[in-house]
C-alpha cells in the first residue's frame, strides 16, 4: 500500500481578532489517498476554506500536523514551501480576482512552469497552448488579458495553471460557487475528466451539497471548525447519522419540484467561532440535544467502515430526526 497523499492530524488554526481569538479549525484529522476526491462541506464559519489554506500552507497551522507525500510540512517556512508547490495546487472561488489583471492569459498559464521547471520559453509557450486546449480554451485567448474573458473561461485558466506542473494534490475552494449554472456544469465536467486522466487527489470545498454529491468519493461535514461526520458520498446522503448532517441535507433544495422535501427546521444560526460553546458545538441548535450534550464533547465514533460521526445521541439511537 502506498503512502497517502495527505495526512492531517489534529489540525488547529486560530486567528487573532483584536483581543479575541477566532477558533477557525479545532482538531480536524483526515487522510487523502491518491486518486481520491474528498469533499469538505459546511456553512460559513465551518473552517472549510481555512483547512484548504492550511493544507496548502498558505496559512501556518496553530497546532497539529500535516504530512504531504510523507513529508512533514506543518511548519516549513514560506521559502521552503515553494518547491513543494509544484506538487500541490489550489483553485479559488472567485476567478475574477484570482488572476493578475496585467498579465496575459498565456503567461498566466505558463507561470507555474516558469517557476518550477527549466523549460525554455518556446517550450513553455507550447505547453501553455496544450494546457489551454486541455481545459477547452481556444488558443487565441492566450494573448488576451483576464478582463476580456468570461467567468467560466477565467476559472478554466485557473485550472490550467493548477494542472500545469502535474500536481499530486489539487485543492478546489468553492471552484464553481460564483459561476452560473450552465458554466458550472462545464467546469465540473472538466474536473472529473482531468481527475480520470491524471489520478490527482482532490479536496473539493463547497457549501453546495448537490455539487459535492456529484463529484466527491468521500465527504467530511464540518461545523464550527470540527468534523461532525465523515462518510462516503453514497452513505452520507442515504444514511446521515449526525443531526446537523441530516438538517443540512434536508435544507438542500433539489432543482426538481416533485422531489419530496423533508424539512427539518433548525433554530437560529451558526454561533460565532470566537466564543465556542462547550460540549457539542451544535447542541444549541440541535433538536435532539440532551443536557449532557452541552457539557460533554462527543468523539468521532466509527459507525461502519469509513463512516464516522460525532454525536452522543448515536449511542441511544436518538440521533435520528
Amino acid at each position: 500500500m502506498t503512502a497517502p497523499v495527505l495526512e492531517v492530524r489534529s489540525l488547529v488554526k486560530h486567528f487573532a481578532a483584536g483581543r479575541a481569538t477566532v477558533h477557525a479549525v479545532n482538531d480536524v484529522s483526515f487522510t487523502l489517498n491518491a486518486g481520491e476526491t474528498l469533499g469538505l462541506v459546511g456553512e460559513s464559519g465551518s473552517g472549510k476554506s481555512t483547512i484548504g489554506r492550511c493544507v496548502t500552507r498558505l496559512l501556518r497551522p496553530t497546532g497539529g500536523s500535516i504530512h504531504f507525500l510523507g513529508q512533514d510540512i506543518t511548519s516549513l517556512s514560506d521559502a521552503a514551501c515553494r518547491p513543494m508547490r509544484a506538487q500541490m495546487q489550489i483553485v479559488f472561488q472567485d476567478p475574477w480576482s484570482a488572476l493578475n489583471p496585467r498579465m496575459r492569459i498565456g503567461d498566466l498559464i505558463a507561470e507555474p512552469l516558469l517557476l518550477h521547471s527549466r523549460l525554455p520559453a518556446t517550450e513553455r509557450r507550447d505547453r501553455a497552448e496544450s494546457l489551454a486546449r486541455r481545459v477547452r480554451l481556444t488558443t487565441e485567448l492566450l494573448g488576451r488579458f483576464p478582463a476580456e474573458l468570461s467567468g467560466g473561461q477565467l476559472q478554466r485558466v485557473c485550472i490550467a495553471r493548477a494542472i500545469a506542473t502535474d500536481p499530486r494534490l489539487i485543492v478546489l475552494d468553492e471552484p464553481t460557487s460564483s459561476l452560473d449554472l450552465s458554466v458550472r456544469a462545464g467546469i465540473l465536467d472538466l474536473l472529473a475528466e482531468l481527475r480520470a486522466e491524471t489520478g490527482t487527489a482532490m479536496i473539493f470545498i463547497s457549501h453546495d451539497l448537490g455539487t459535492v454529491k456529484l463529484i466527491c468519493d468521500r465527504i467530511l461535514v464540518l461545523y464550527l471548525g470540527a468534523v461532525v461526520e465523515e462518510a462516503s458520498a453514497a452513505t452520507l446522503f442515504e444514511a446521515p447519522a449526525h443531526p446537523y448532517t441530516q438538517a443540512l441535507i434536508s435544507a438542500y433544495l433539489p432543482a426538481d419540484p416533485i422531489a419530496p422535501l423533508r424539512r427539518i427546521a433548525l433554530e437560529g444560526e451558526v454561533p460565532s467561532p470566537i466564543n465556542l460553546p462547550p460540549g457539542c458545538h451544535f447542541a444549541g441548535r440541535c433538536p435532539v440535544a440532551l443536557p449532557r450534550c452541552r457539557s460533554e464533547a462527543p468523539r468521532l465514533d466509527i459507525l461502519s467502515p469509513g463512516h464516522r460521526a460525532a454525536c452522543l445521541r448515536i449511542g441511544d439511537g436518538g440521533n435520528r430526526l
Partner: protein, 318 residues
C-alpha cells in the same frame, strides 16, 4: 385581471465610450409577463439576463445611464412607467414591497430596527405612533425575531437582517412583494428558514410575490409559476411543474440539465459559446449563436407559442 402586467419592457444603458461613440447596451429587450394576486412567480436566469433590472425598471428605480425606452407595467390599473413620481413613491413601500439582495447594507445603520419599521408605516398611513409600534412588534414576532425592536442593524446576523427587510417590506400590507435574491449569501439552513417564512406569509396574506433568483431549487419548491430570462427577454414561462416536467426552449432544457440532480459528469450537455453580448445582439432569437438547434429561420424574432395550461415558449423550434 392580473395584479401586475408587464408588456414589452425595453431598458437600455446608453453611454459613450472612450472613442466618443454612442454605445447602447440592450439590457432588456421586450420583457412581458403577468402576475396574479396570491401567485408566486419565480424570475430565473443567469448573470446579466436582466432579472433584477426588470424589477428596478418596473419600480422606477433605474439610475442613468439606464433608461426604460419602451413598454408598460400596469399595476392595479396604473402604468408604473408613466405615473408621476409622487404617485409612484406612494405605491412603493405601501402597495409594493421590495426585499433586496444585501440585507446588511439596506438597513439604515443609524436607527433602531423598531424605529425603521414604525417610520415606514407612518410614512404611508395615518397610524398613530402606538398603533405603528404595536404593528411593528407583531410583525417581528411573526418573522420569528420577537423583542428586537431596540436592536441596531449592526447587531443582527445576516439571516436576522434579511428577516427585518422582509418585515419592512410587509409592514404596510402590500399587494405585491418583489424579492430580489432574498436568500443569496445566507447559509442553507438559514435559507430554509427564510423561504419557509416568506411562503407562509405570502399564503396567509394573499399577496402576490415575484422572486428573483438564479437558484432553480428555490423556484422548484417555492414558486407557483416561473419565467426563464435570457439576454433581457423571457424565453419560457409557465407553471413550475409544467416547465420542469417539459422544458421546451433549448436554453431552458440546457439550464435544467445543468442542475446537479440532472447533470451526468462526462456527458454534460453544457451551454456552449460565450454569454450574449448585449452591445451587439444577433437579429432574431438572442440564443441563436449558442443554440444547438438553430436554423436560418431563427434570424427572425421567435414567435410566442402556447403549450398546455399557461406554458408559453418563444422559439421557432417548437
Amino acid at each position: 385581471m392580473s395584479l401586475l402586467s408587464v408588456e414589452n419592457l425595453h431598458t437600455h444603458f446608453i453611454s459613450r465610450d472612450l472613442d466618443n461613440r454612442v454605445r447602447v447596451f440592450r439590457a432588456l429587450n421586450g420583457v412581458s409577463f403577468t402576475l396574479d394576486a396570491g401567485q408566486v412567480l419565480g424570475l430565473v436566469g443567469e448573470t446579466g439576463a436582466g432579472k433584477s433590472l426588470t424589477a428596478t425598471s418596473i419600480l422606477g428605480l433605474l439610475r442613468p445611464p439606464a433608461k426604460v425606452v419602451a413598454g408598460q407595467a400596469v399595476f392595479a390599473g396604473e402604468d408604473l412607467l408613466t405615473i408621476k413620481e409622487g404617485a409612484l413613491n406612494a405605491l412603493r413601500g405601501h402597495d409594493i414591497g421590495l426585499v433586496v439582495q444585501s440585507p446588511k447594507s439596506s438597513l439604515d445603520p443609524l436607527s433602531r430596527i423598531g424605529d425603521q419599521l414604525i417610520r415606514i408605516h407612518r410614512a404611508h398611513t395615518n397610524a398613530s405612533g402606538a398603533e405603528a409600534r404595536a404593528r411593528a412588534e407583531a410583525m417581528l414576532t411573526s418573522l420569528g425575531i420577537p423583542g428586537r425592536m431596540r436592536a441596531w442593524p449592526h447587531e443582527l446576523s445576516g439571516g436576522m437582517a434579511q428577516r427585518v427587510l422582509i418585515a419592512l417590506a410587509l409592514m404596510n400590507a402590500p399587494r405585491l412583494l418583489i424579492a430580489d435574491e432574498p436568500t443569496t449569501g445566507l447559509d442553507v439552513t438559514v435559507q430554509a428558514q427564510i423561504l419557509d417564512l416568506l411562503r407562509d406569509l405570502v399564503r396567509r396574506s394573499g399577496v402576490a410575490a415575484m422572486v428573483i433568483t438564479h437558484d432553480l431549487g428555490v423556484v422548484a419548491h417555492y414558486c407557483d409559476a416561473m419565467a426563464v430570462m435570457y439576454a433581457g427577454a423571457i424565453v419560457e414561462s409557465g407553471p413550475v411543474t409544467a416547465v420542469f416536467a417539459r422544458p421546451t426552449h433549448p436554453y431552458t432544457v440546457n439550464l435544467i440539465a445543468a442542475t446537479p440532480q440532472r447533470l451526468r459528469l462526462g456527458a454534460a450537455r453544457t451551454i456552449g459559446g460565450p454569454p450574449p453580448n448585449l452591445l451587439a445582439l444577433p437579429e432574431g432569437c438572442a440564443y441563436r449563436d449558442r443554440c444547438p438547434l438553430a436554423g436560418p429561420d431563427c434570424a427572425t424574432p421567435p414567435p410566442e407559442r402556447a403549450l398546455a395550461d399557461g406554458h408559453v415558449v418563444r422559439c421557432h423550434r417548437v
